[in-house]
């Protein structure tokens, strides 16, 4: 596969942004600064970025409760996201949604979602719209290994296949749904892609901790979907580095599990190792990006902290009727 330097630098920047965004949130949440429940995406960066680097603003994604990575990969404003997570008035959703409900429809990010399994049917609808527009655009539903067990996900896959629309089901298997293992909850021997295949779709599998593998596999998948107008699915084998939510004691983990994952399955390390043996990028370029990202996240947190809080007198804005 042919990569451009610019493309690779952009992908690395997005992954590094997701990682640092989440690591910083982990610290700030521990300080008690951030309201509500937060589900961190760290560990899964290569999945969101490997998928979204193929998309532009007219392609659409629907996301999950663990949505920060999808938002950043799709191009949401990082500072506005941070303000949203802090519950500030000029957050991306005016402080009304918070971590679990970030959306920016103007760039094809149709929403993170607090209801597990709600997204897949919405991607089918977005794909109907994409088909109607006739510009070869696609709609992607991100779902976890937990969400794949929800009836809505099955209905969406079958319907997408029946009506033949360019919907793409991306299953990020991070091996846990809350505190339950995929070994227990996914009856098809932990194999999610085979379910999509059973609905008559072409399916792919990739290493969701490896940007190159995810990106290249998605390229094939997208060729197929854009060429045929039909739905497809991909299962990404990935990992989550933090708890289900911040504060989760993670008693379900094996001893030393997270240390091992951070050693062997870290998307950023894998990217760097790849570039160290490749001629495309200079590692110093990646170091420089890391520093720029740190400055961005610092500024995002500082600005979010300082930002104006929400005004209770505006609580009834954006509903159709008040009583």
């Amino acid at each position: 596969m042919q990569y451009s330097q610019d493309g690779l630098l952009r992908a690395y920047r997005r992954m590094a942004t997701i990682r640092q965004f989440e690591e910083r949130l982990h610290e700030e949440i521990a300080k008690g600064e951030i309201p509500g429940f937060t589900h961190l995406y760290a560990g899964q960066e290569a999945a969101a970025v490997g998928v979204c680097e193929h998309l532009d603003n007219d392609d659409m994604i629907v996301s999950t409760h663990r949505g920060h990575g999808h938002c950043i990969a799709k191009g949401c404003d990082v500072k506005a996201m941070m303000k949203e997570i802090y519950g500030r008035r000029d957050g991306l959703c005016k402080g009304r949604g918070g971590s679990m409900h970030i959306a920016d429809t103007s760039i094809g990010m149709l929403g993170a979602n607090g209801i597990v399994g709600a997204g897949a049917p919405q991607a089918v609808g977005a794909a109907i719209a994409a088909r109607a527009e006739g510009k070869g655009k696609v709609a992607i539903a991100f779902s976890g290994d937990g969400a794949c067990n929800q009836g809505t996900t099955f209905e969406a896959m079958n319907m997408a296949a029946v009506i033949s629309v360019p919907a793409i089901f991306v299953f990020e298997n991070n091996h846990y749904s809350e505190h339950t293992g995929d070994k227990y909850a996914v009856a098809t021997d932990r194999d999610i892609a085979s379910r999509a295949k059973a609905f008559g779709m072409e399916v792919w599998r990739a290493n969701g901790c490896d940007f190159y593998d995810t990106f290249e596999t998605m390229a094939e998948l997208l060729d197929h979907v854009r060429g045929s107008g039909k739905p497809a699915a991909i299962e990404l084998d990935t990992e989550r580095f933090y708890g289900h939510f911040e504060g989760d004691p993670q008693r379900y983990r094996a001893k030393g599990e997270v240390d091992r994952l951070r050693e062997e399955r870290d998307a950023l390390k894998i990217f760097r190792a790849h570039e160290a043996t490749d001629e495309m990028l200079d590692l110093a370029q990646l170091d420089a990006i890391d520093e720029e990202v740190t400055a961005l996240i610092d500024a995002a947190v500082d600005e979010a902290r300082e930002a104006e809080k929400c005004d209770p007198s505006q609580i009834e804005e954006d509903v159709y009727a008040a009583y």
Partner: protein, 336 residues
């Protein structure tokens, strides 16, 4: 009497019930937790701590961790109940009735009546509800209003540890589906709990305060706010009756009407939005059946007609609180 909180009262009642009655089973997401992981089963004990210790005692055939499949959870509970069991099914957040609405509304609510009185469907659905934890629009709703509107469902809102035990035992002894709403913010609330098979009959309100000047009917978490207001106003010589209906279906109409006939003033406090709510329902009841006793228009203190916002400042404005209740009580006194 032992002192414990609501979480412990529910946990203990489930332990006792499963011990006593082999047909009682529990099912839901992560009710044991840790299935298929290195940490092993019971790594969690239920995310709310209400099912702690159950799988160790009763095993995975009776304490069933399910995949994320709310329709199948409630549907399976319905089938198990029709086949003679007494399932207790947990919806981790009451908001997820949106996912399994058919099983609740068209299935378990209907069987007994629709099948000519021959079927029994003793499902207890535990719905964890309520705002106050910045969980935003899809994890905070107080949906007892929706389910109260469905004939065939009983709807229960315990507000004390004793009632949590008594109402749960009552649910587990009846033959009808019971929607058992547990407020997240009340789990830590402590109180004395009677020993043994304590039961609280449905349709009997609890008089939380007696005062005689104004009737406050409060639902769920709102009861403790109403009590606060009543205690404050008592110092000024204003007496409030605070009525905790405990069950919204069946509703203890008599307790409410008796009180209003004495006080002539009604304030209803409800955490859900204003339209088609339990608050408007109780207000209508009083207007219809105690019209001539009223000395002031009934007041409803409710959430606004909006989804539940995330930001703390907005959520605080969303949830009815003591100041709004107090103001409403004073309006009924100042009227005319």
């Amino acid at each position: 009497m032992a002192v414990m909180n609501i979480r412990e009262a529910i946990n203990q009642t489930l332990h006792d019930a499963m011990e006593r009655d082999p047909s009682v089973i529990l099912l839901g997401e992560d009710v044991a937790g840790g299935a298929g992981t290195a940490g092993g089963q019971e790594a969690i004990g239920g995310i709310w701590g209400t099912s702690t210790g159950l799988i160790g005692k009763f095993g995975p055939e009776r304490v069933i961790d399910t995949p994320i499949s709310e329709s199948a959870i409630i549907g399976a509970a319905a089938g198990a109940a029709l086949a003679g069991m007494r399932p207790v099914a947990e919806l981790m957040f009451a908001d997820f009735i949106g996912v399994c609405g058919d099983q609740l509304i068209n299935q378990i609510a209907k069987f007994r009546y629709m099948f000519g009185g021959k079927a029994r469907c003793p499902v207890v659905v535990r719905l964890i509800y309520g705002a106050g934890m910045n969980s935003a629009a899809q994890h905070s709703q107080a949906f007892y209003n929706l389910l109260t509107a469905i004939p065939g469902l009983k709807v229960v809102l315990p507000t004390t540890p004793a009632d949590a035990k008594g109402l749960m035992n009552e649910a587990l002894h009846g033959d009808d589906p019971v929607m058992f709403f547990e407020h997240k913010a009340l789990y830590g609330k402590k109180g004395e709990v009677p020993e043994g098979l304590h039961r609280v009959p449905f349709g009997h309100a609890r008089m939380a305060r007696e005062g005689g000047d104004v009737t406050i009917v409060a639902l769920g978490r709102m009861v403790s706010f109403a009590e606060k207001v009543a205690d404050k106003l008592a110092e000024e010589g204003i007496g409030c009756d605070v009525i905790d209906p405990r069950t919204t279906s069946p509703l203890d109409e008599e307790a409410i009407l008796d009180s209003v006939e004495q006080t002539g003033r009604l304030v209803v406090v409800d955490e859900s939005p204003p339209r088609c709510s339990v608050a408007t329902d109780i207000t209508a009841l009083v207007a219809q059946k105690a019209f001539s006793s009223l000395d002031a228009p009934p007041e409803c203190v409710t959430a606004p007609h909006t989804p539940i916002p995330f930001a703390p400042e907005l959520e605080r404005a969303y949830v009815p609180g003591p100041p709004a209740i107090e103001a409403a009580v004073r309006r009924t006194l100042d009227w005319g």
